[in-house]
């Protein structure tokens, strides 16, 4: 037994000796030289904003800001959408959120529920009028669901529109200059395209955002989203039924391949598909295909059921600050720097991306930016109202499932629409 006791004592002594070599012990004898003003800000950005040319420009903004603010260090981390959603949830639970992060407005209600955003209203109001007046009032209003509450700085935005393969249109005997503003006119073109041996439209009923883009062509803002006060959906059953009927008609001239599938993209680029509905980000690959394989295409506003109500969906992105950040003022300073006109103009010029800075939008003469702005005027938002309450589980899936049931003939459009409204209302009420 004595031998074992000696062994244990020896191990303990060795362990204690080793702890003396730990960094803490070194600090006690030789304190590290740390600049008094050192501030490190963690900055999470969308994956496509943190890589490639966009990533380089973000890094340039960071370098400029760091040079102007000695002692400040900003670490940028690109995150894809699901990673951002799960990451913010996990980080909020462990109170380890990044100081600054980007997020889509439609996720804003979730972030508010998690207590993951600082109310920046006072900091915003403290900015000079000349600064605040730069921004799109609608986007600012969206960030401000109640009085004196603003959940971040509106940053970028997008809308969807119609990419047209002009080679396919011409082969089908369609003059691309011929304007199509209604679904009836559009269906006439689709018929010609199919008759010429091409596919007109990909399947628009497989993804929620595609659904919103199409529904937007028959509904107005008041016929969409959730009325939280009255615990009911704003979805209009008649408008919805009209849209599904159009999708069923269009299906006869299109392909089963989903609009968001890579295959749809490739069919379009290889002159087999006439139309694709997407946002400005898609133009990067099409512009490239134009250079390398001579893809002949353009983009126009998505037709609607009537000429006065075009289709397409829209969404905004914002930059928020963590309530757990120890450097909120510096975080705000950085955000206001990158959202200021000179930076936003560089951003818009490089990426042709729509953003919240109206001065920038008036300066940059870019057709892609213009059509995005045009699409944003008429497009429906993804999950309105933003920053109020998170959508109930299964809400978006219920819409897609119902569309699929109608398309497969399980139920008529009118009965399906009624069933859907009942189901959505039930989901909202259960979520209260």
């Amino acid at each position: 037994m004595k031998r074992y006791t000696r062994s244990i004592i020896l191990i303990l002594v060795l362990a204690l000796s080793l702890t003396a070599c730990a960094p803490g012990a070194t600090k006690a004898t030789a304190p590290a030289v740390v600049p008094a003003q050192t501030i490190t800000l963690e900055y999470w950005v969308f994956a496509d904003y943190g890589s490639g040319e966009a990533g380089k420009l973000q890094q340039t903004f960071i370098s400029e800001f760091q040079a102007a603010n000695p002692g400040v260090k900003i670490n940028m981390s690109p995150k894809n959408d699901d990673e951002l959603t799960a990451g913010i949830t996990a980080a909020a639970a462990s109170k380890s959120l990044p100081d600054i992060y980007m997020q889509s407005d439609d996720m804003g209600a979730n972030d508010v529920k998690l207590g993951a955003l600082v109310n920046v209203y006072d900091m915003w109001m403290a900015m000079p009028d000349s600064y605040r007046n730069q921004f799109n009032p609608a986007m600012v209003t969206d960030m401000t669901p109640t009085d004196k509450t603003m959940w971040g700085m509106p940053y970028t935005g997008y809308s969807s529109f119609l990419f047209r393969n002009l080679t396919v249109l011409k082969a089908a005997g369609i003059d691309p200059a011929e304007k199509v503003t209604t679904w009836a006119q559009w269906l006439e073109q689709m018929k010609k395209i199919k008759a010429a041996g091409y596919d007109a439209l990909p399947n628009m009923a497989l993804a929620y955002n595609d659904f919103v883009a199409m529904y937007s062509g028959v509904a107005t803002d008041s016929q969409w989203g959730i009325d939280w006060a009255n615990k009911k959906t704003n979805l209009d059953p008649a408008a919805y039924a009209t849209m599904v009927k159009f999708l069923m008609d269009a299906k006869a001239y299109g392909t089963e391949i989903g609009n968001r599938d890579q295959a749809a993209d490739d069919l379009f680029k290889s002159n087999k598909l006439a139309y694709r509905i997407s946002g400005p980000w898609t133009n990067v690959t099409y512009a490239d295909a134009k250079k390398t394989s001579g893809l002949d295409y353009d983009y126009v506003i998505l037709p609607g059921n009537t000429a006065d109500n075009p289709g397409g969906h829209r969404g905004d992105e914002f930059i928020g600050i963590s309530p757990y950040s120890k450097n909120k003022e510096m975080a705000w300073k950085f955000i206001t720097y990158i959202c200021d006109e000179p930076q936003m103009t560089r951003w818009a010029t490089l990426l042709s991306r729509y953003n919240s800075n109206m001065v920038t939008l008036s300066k940059v003469n870019d057709s892609l930016l213009q059509i995005t702005a045009e699409g944003a005027k008429s497009g429906l938002m993804v999950q309105p109202p933003d920053f109020v309450k998170a959508y109930p589980a299964g809400y978006t899936q219920a819409i897609l499932d119902n569309t699929a049931q109608i398309e497969s003939g399980q139920v008529t459009p009118e009965d399906g629409a009624k069933e859907l409204v009942d189901k959505l209302n039930k989901l909202i009420q259960e979520n209260q």
């Binding site: 089963e256 391949i257 899936q397």
Partner: protein
């Protein structure tokens, strides 16, 4: 007692680091998860005790019924088909010697090593309506194209194909190791007695391989009951919309993830996890019982 301590203390001291990590990373999350399943909790705000409400909510939801139905359908096809194919492939590879044996063993094992996100992308291509390779071949045979990933009637079958394509190699390697351990004398004796190849497989190979087969079957069931990544990727699911067209590929773990990260209902997600664990325990228990009975026979 003193003797016992003297004899084993060192051993337990050496095992202590393992038990510490085991407790922190395995036992604690299990108990914490079970505890959370009785609370309404969004990961940030204080949890509210709701008793069995989470279990009742999950069990009453339409998604749960669909997910369990899909799961039963999937497991009942994928496990037997997978084991049968793995067994046949193992027999085939076992019949080769030298370079062909190594070549086929490696070839069948390659899909197991391919990252799943890559495999799912490739299979999404293969399954593409109209222009996917399978539909092109069907077209040559004058068979109308199949919507592999959007037609609820065939979506499970699409998943079973991908699943078996990935798992056959892994199961084959395990079965092959078992086959190599069967003494050759048994086959020689059977041959002398006039047994044909089929009889050799039935009366020698399968009984001798029973423990290994049991492992592959049990492992197959447990993996299949937790299916998540392949259908999630094949249906391009997100936390807000998952399960594919008409929920044709909705499975319990997907619903669990959606509830947790899409809707911040971590209590319900935990309850879901424990209900699934119960199902896995029951299935595994049945398998052990069957194995014991067969072993006894």
């Amino acid at each position: 007692m003193n003797n016992w301590v003297r004899k084993y203390l060192r051993h337990f001291l050496m095992l202590t680091p393992f038990f510490i990590f085991f407790s922190i990373f395995l036992l604690y999350p299990i108990f914490k998860g079970f505890y959370i399943s009785f609370f309404r909790w969004d990961a940030v705000h204080p949890a509210v005790f709701v008793g069995l409400d989470n279990y009742i909510s999950v069990a009453n939801s339409s998604y749960f019924g669909i997910a369990i139905f899909n799961l039963l359908k999937y497991v009942s096809i994928t496990v037997p088909v997978g084991i049968l194919l793995s067994f046949l492939v193992a027999l085939l590879v076992d019949s080769f010697e030298g370079i062909p044996s190594g070549f086929f063993r490696s070839t069948y094992f390659v899909p197991t090593m391919i990252p799943l996100f890559l495999a799912a992308s490739v299979w999404r291509w293969i399954y593409t309506p109209e222009i996917g390779i399978i539909n092109i071949v069907l077209g040559w045979l004058h068979i109308p194209p199949v919507n592999w990933l959007t037609d609820p009637k065939v979506m499970i079958l699409s998943l079973v194909i991908v699943d078996n394509w990935r798992s056959i190699g892994f199961n084959m390697v395990i079965l092959l190791a078992g086959l190599k351990n069967i003494p050759g004398e048994y086959y020689d004796a059977a041959e002398v007695d006039g047994a044909n190849k089929f009889q050799e497989v039935i009366y020698i190979t399968i009984p001798q391989l029973r423990p290994v087969l049991f492992f592959t079957i049990a492992y197959g069931f447990i993996s299949a009951l937790q299916v998540f990544d392949a259908p999630w990727l094949m249906t391009a699911s997100q936390y807000s919309t998952y399960g594919g067209h008409l929920k044709g590929l909705l499975f319990p773990v997907m619903d669990m993830m959606g509830r947790a990260f899409g809707n911040l209902q971590f209590g319900q997600a935990s309850a879901y996890g424990f209900m699934l664990m119960l199902i896995i325990l029951v299935v595994t228990g049945i398998l052990f019982r069957v194995q014991r009975r067969l072993g006894g026979a």
